[in-house]
Every structure is written in C-alpha cells, then in structure tokens.
C-alpha cells in the first residue's frame, strides 16, 4: 500500500503558482526524499499534506483514505523553522503537544517520559525551553514530532542546527522508525542526506515535479556508461566503440582516464580491450551523485526555459 498518493495538487496565490499539478506516489515503509531548490514549492506541499493550508485542486490519499481532519494524529511534522514555547517546561510542552495530536493526557505523560528517557535527557523535564541550548531544544522538538507514533513522519531539513553527534542520533532514530514500519518524508536540499538515507526521491522545481522514482532507478536513468580507469602508461587511441572524455596524470607514470562506451559494448569488453592497451590499476563506473543529477536537472530546466524564450 502507498503511504501517500497526491494527484494533480495545485495551489495558486495571486502573484504566483506555488504548486502546479503535482503527482506523487510515496510507498509505505520507505524514506522518501523531497528535493528541490528553495522556493520550489516543497513547503507548500508539506503544508497541504499537514492540512495547514488547502490545495486549490487535486486529491491526496493517505494510507488508502482521503486526507481528512482525523489524519492529524497519523502525521508527525518537524518544520524547518523550529520553535517551542520558550516559557514552558520541557515536560509540560511534550505532554501538551502530544495531547493536541490527539493523545489522552495519561498516554501523553507516559509516552513523553519514555522518550525523554530514551534520549537520556530526563534531567531536562522541569527545565524551561529558554534555558536549553539550541541543540537541546531540537532534540525536544524531534521527540514532540514522533512521540504520538505517527505512521507518516515529515521532516523538513531535519539536520540543520544539529551537531554531528546529535545528527547521528537522529539518523539512527529515523532508521529505527523505518524498521518499525513508519514512512518518512525528507524535505531537503542537502544531497548527502539523500544519498545516505533515502530510498525514493522526487525533485520539485518551479512548482512542478520534474523527477520521481526509487533512488536506484533514478541513478540508473542518469548512468552514462562512463568509467574511471586508473592505469600505468599513456594510451591514446581506442576503437570507435569508446571515446576518451579526459585523461590526467596522477603521479609517476600513472594516469586516470574517463572513458565512455559509445557503442553497445559492455564494461567487461572495455576491460578486456583496455588490458591490451595499458596496465589497469583501477576500474570503476562513474555513477552520477544525486547532487550532480539535481544540479543538472535544475540547470537544464533553466536552459530549456531560456530556449523557449529565444
């Protein structure tokens, strides 16, 4: 079953279109990366899923049901702009936020105590948020996002503001949640995160979805049959099946050459052919990083835009 299906979601403001006919399919029990440059419409989409604002048109289905007020407790949301009540004590704050998500008071107390123990911050229970450091407050906020055990968790730039130790803690927690069967939507423009954690991605640019699919599939799509070869001794000519994109010297007599297979040859054939030419020391496929794909696509959009003007 899909955790979330969006069909034709559109949101227009007087001066611009925030989302233009966006379709998304988010499989259950995955970590789904929602990528896009600033101002692309990610936050608008997330707000629509959270029912903070309504879409002008389009349908959203969550775990097979039409999105409705009752799904508020199904979703946990960590906004990019973090915030808690400064004057409120950590304990009361967690209980209150959980109650607003629909937990009974008794459940809220029990859950918040349990989480605060898990994060080893029991001594903060009676501290006011204004007395906590920024990182501490973020931990509290993270707990408030997940403590009502939502099946769908939406994290908007979750690692901004965390030191590496806490970032690792949160990462572990996210992976555990996935194990338990939660679906997690990551909204980010930090590609390392996507590379490490996400199973599926969607790229939104200028209010439109321009790419969606599993990370592997996306990467396969953008594979260019290009290989990095480390070798000893220069070679210049290859058969017409391959083309040399670049060659640089490393040290002593070692060189690195980037070769693209232009014909129908396989990588094994390339290796075979190479061994005749040179002494191969390393051979690896040059797979594009998410970052490269992201930049290529976003820039490509810009260029096609220009072309259409000309």
């Amino acid at each position: 079953m899909e955790a979330l299906i969006a069909k034709g979601v559109t949101k227009r403001y007087t001066n611009h279109t925030a989302l233009d006919n966006v379709d998304l399919t988010i499989p259950e029990k995955t970590i789904y990366g929602l990528l896009g440059p600033n101002g692309a419409g990610k936050t608008t989409l997330i707000r629509i899923i959270n029912q903070i604002i309504n879409a002008d048109s389009g349908d959203i289905t969550i775990f097979g049901e039409r999105l409705h007020q009752k799904h508020i407790g199904t979703i946990g949301y960590l906004p990019e702009e973090r915030g808690l009540y400064k004057k409120l004590k950590v304990g009361e704050q967690l209980i209150y936020l959980a109650q607003l998500k629909g937990l009974s008071r008794a459940d809220a107390i029990q859950k918040s105590k349990q989480w605060i123990k898990k994060f080893e911050i029991t001594e903060w229970w009676n501290k006011k948020v204004e007395d906590l450091s920024k990182g501490m407050a973020q931990k509290v906020q993270f707990i408030s996002t997940i403590m009502h055990e939502p099946r769908l968790i939406i994290l908007d730039e979750p690692f901004s503001g965390f030191d590496p130790v806490n970032a690792q803690l949160i990462t572990d927690e996210i992976l555990q949640l996935k194990e338990k069967g939660c679906t997690i939507i990551f909204s980010t423009h930090r590609m390392e995160t996507v590379e490490d954690l996400c199973d599926h991605i969607a790229l939104i640019d200028k209010s439109k979805k321009i790419l969606e699919g599993s990370k592997k599939k996306v990467k396969d799509t953008y594979r260019s049959n290009t290989f990095l070869v480390d070798h000893k001794g220069v070679f210049n000519s290859t058969s017409e099946k391959y083309s040399i994109l670049s060659q640089k010297s490393l040290e002593d007599d070692y060189y690195q050459t980037i070769i693209k297979i232009t014909g129908s040859a396989t990588s094994n054939q390339l290796i075979r052919d190479l061994t005749d030419l040179t002494e191969v020391h390393g051979f690896v496929e040059k797979i594009p990083t998410m970052s490269e794909i992201f930049i290529a696509l976003v820039k490509g959009e810009v260029e096609t835009g220009r072309n259409s003007i000309n």
Binding site: T14, I52, G83
Partner: protein, 441 residues
C-alpha cells in the same frame, strides 16, 4: 471542541502559574487601600500635629478684630508699618497683615507681608475671615440682625424618587449612580485594553518563536485563536474576581483598623466650618444625605448590574480581543503592531469619551442611546447607563447586537489570522490584510 478546551487550559495555566500574575493579583488590591490609608494618615497627622500659623496684625482702622482659630493665631501689634515690619522680620512667624484705614463699602489696601510665597489655602483662609468680619460690620451698619439673616437663608435639596413602570417608588441618588457608572465604564475600558493586548502579545510570541507551524499542523488556526482568546478571558475574570474580593476586604480592614473614617469626617466638617460660618448647620444636615446615599445603595439592583456588567465585560473583550488577535497574527513584532492598534482602539476610546460627555451627564439622551446600542462603543457606554436604569428593549437590542458584533469581528479576524500566522517578514499594510481576508482556504 476538545482541542479548543486543551488550548484554553494551556493558555489559562501558562498565565496563572506565572509569578508576575500572582504578584499583580495580590499587590494591586493592596496598593489601593495602602494609598488611601497613607493619604488619610498623612492628612490626619498634619491636622493633629499642625502648629498654629501666627499672623501679626497691624490694624490702623481699628475695625477688624480677628479671633484666633484652631489653625491661626493673631498677634495685634501697634506702632507704624516700618516698625512692625522689622519686628516681623526678626520673628519666626508666618505673616504680617497690614490693615489701613478703609471704608466698609470699599475695603481696599489690606496687605499681607510674608517671607515666602504663601499657599493658596492660607490666602483663601485669611481672605474668608476678613470677608466675614466686613460682612458682620456691614450688617451692623445697616442695622440688620444676624439672626434674621440666618433665618432667611434657605437650603433645599431635592428628594428624587423614580416612579417605575409598575408604579413602585424608588428613591435614587444621582451622584451615587454617576459614580457607579463612572467606575464600571472605566473598568470595562481598562479590562478590554489590558487583556486585548495580552492576546496580541501571545499571538506575536507564538509567531516569532515559530511554534505556530507545529500547532496548526495539529489544530485549526481558528481553534487556536479561539482557545487563546477564551483562555485569557478566564484569566481576566479570575483576576478581576480576586481583586474585587481583596479590595473589599482590605479596604474595610484598613479603614476600620485605623479608625480613619471618623477622623476624616471630622476634618471635613472643620474645613466646612472654616470656609463658611453658615456651613456649620450644613454639616449637621449632612447626616441625613449620607444616610440617604447608604440607603440608596440598597435600592440599586446589584444582581442585575453584576450580571450585565459581566456580560459587557466578556462581550466587549471578545469583540476587541478577536481584532487584537488578528493584528498579532499579521505582524512580526510589537513595534510593527502599533500602526494597527490605534484604529482598533479608536472606537473604544470614543466610547470612553462618550461616557463622560453624554452618558453620565444625561443617560437617557439620544446620543447615550446610540452609543450604548452600537456594538463597538456599547460595552463602555451601556455599563455607564446600567445603574440609572435602562429600558429592557434597549438592553436586549444592545446585547444582541454585541453578540452579533463579536461573531462578526471573530469571523473577520479568523480569516486574517489563518494566513497571517504563517507569514514571516512580509511588509503588512491594510491592502495586504484585505488580500489575506479575501484569500480562499
């Protein structure tokens, strides 16, 4: 509904648990009796411990013979003015009064020499005494008996009795009603402003601390706004109730402890006597009006006033509170809010002035009617009228319109609020507010 209740509880507890709430709730009622007690204490002490003011009198006319009083002692001096001045210079006394020869019809040239600028009160006291002397001399000159003159003087005070529709006679005391209307009107005005501002600050705080995005992912903006407004209203009602009780208890306690109520009355009588010899019998007559005022308190329908006061208290607060919430949602800081505050407060301020200009002087005039019917001014204006008696149909009309009024402002406010709380850093003016208001879902 359940969520509004949660927010209501949170907002209420957040404020009530604060130390500042406890301090304000306990200290403010203490301050009033403390001020009254201190003032009365100083006044009484001054009267008791005051040394007599000594005045040298050089009377060349030989007509004026001033008698010593509680506060003044007159020393008659002889010789010429220069001599008297030197003697006075060397003394510690207050003044030298020089009375030249004068005609009764034209008493001019009386001079008061002092070392420092004398207070108005002393000048007035002395003038009064001289006037009384000349007055007596004139009576003697025209051969008029003092007693006859006294019996000519008549004092009339109207006994005011309201004939109600049922024919029941109600004795009323206009001064008393005026005072009551005044206090109630001002209380509503202050309450609406103070707690309305609290709503605004609360909304701004939620917005600037960015918590609001988390909250509105759990509750609808309207629920958040309503829960907050109602929570603060409850704080206001609790605080007000505690104040009323504390002020009543402490005022009664301090007054009876110091026994100041009696002494104050004595001092007042003394002053009255001093200013006007005829006032002595006025002072005696005062027993009667005091009893009447006390009597008319019993005649005031307390339950009626309390109920209606509470109604306008809440109605006015909700009407303006919603607007304050809308302003808070639109801005990023208190400074930014200022441009919107005045237009909101203006009708309230108009109601406040109307209270003094129209309602209290004439509670049944056309102006008073309109001010107490229109929802934006009615909370202040109508409570000003309550004590004077308001026709039932007017009261009902006013209250229905007030309910309609706050539903209307809440509706407007909610439409601005839901958009405003998610907007950061945008420059807000009335055009933008209108755009937000018109914006769909």
């Amino acid at each position: 509904m359940n969520k509004i209740w949660l927010i209501f509880q949170r907002e209420f507890l957040n404020r009530v648990q604060k130390k500042s709430f406890l301090i304000a709730t306990i200290l403010i009622p203490m301050i009033f009796p403390a001020i009254i007690a201190t003032m009365a204490y100083i006044f009484v002490k001054q009267e008791e411990g005051a040394q007599k003011t000594k005045v040298h009198v050089l009377d060349k006319s030989g007509k004026i013979d001033l008698e010593n009083t509680d506060r003044y002692e007159f020393l008659n001096v002889t010789g010429d003015l220069e001599q008297a001045k030197t003697t006075f210079q060397h003394s510690e006394d207050f003044a030298l009064m020089y009375i030249p020869e004068f005609e009764l019809s034209k008493p001019e040239g009386i001079t008061l020499y002092t070392k420092e600028n004398p207070s108005m009160r002393r000048i007035q006291d002395l003038e009064k005494m001289l006037e009384n002397k000349v007055h007596d001399l004139k009576l003697a000159q025209f051969n008029i008996d003092k007693e006859i003159l006294k019996s000519l003087k008549t004092s009339i005070s109207l006994n005011n009795i309201n004939l109600s529709e049922t024919g029941e006679e109600k004795e009323s005391n206009t001064g008393m009603l005026y005072g009551l209307g005044f206090v109630l009107g001002i209380l509503i005005y202050i309450f609406v402003l103070v707690y309305g501002m609290q709503i605004m600050l609360g909304v701004i705080e939620e917005k600037t601390s960015k918590i609001v995005e988390v909250i509105v992912s759990s509750v609808r903006p309207f629920q958040l706004m309503l829960g907050k407004i109602l929570g603060i209203a409850a704080v206001g009602l609790v605080q007000f109730t505690i104040w009323v009780i504390l002020i009543m208890v402490t005022s009664t306690a301090t007054l009876s402890f110091f026994g100041l109520d009696k002494k104050q009355q004595q001092a007042m009588e003394q002053m009255a006597k001093m200013n006007n010899p005829a006032a002595s019998d006025m002072a005696q007559m005062q027993d009667n009006p005091v009893a009447k005022v006390l009597g008319s308190i019993d005649k005031i329908p307390v339950a009626f006033i309390v109920f209606n006061f509470a109604f306008y208290f809440l109605g006015g607060y909700l009407l303006y509170g919603a607007l304050f919430a809308a302003v808070g949602s639109a801005v990023d800081s208190q400074q930014e809010a200022q441009q919107f505050n005045l237009p909101i407060m203006l009708p309230l301020i108009i109601g406040y002035f109307a209270l003094f200009m129209f309602i209290l002087p004439d509670p049944h005039s056309t102006a008073s009617f309109w001010f107490s019917i229109i929802p934006f001014t009615s909370p202040v204006a109508m409570v000003g009228r309550l004590a004077f008696g308001v026709p039932t149909w007017q009261l009902i009309l006013s209250q229905v319109l007030l309910i309609g009024g706050f539903i209307f402002t809440t509706w407007i406010a909610a439409r601005i609020y839901r958009v405003g709380i998610l907007m950061h850093g945008s420059k807000v003016n009335y055009k933008v507010l209108l755009k937000w208001f018109m914006m769909k879902g």
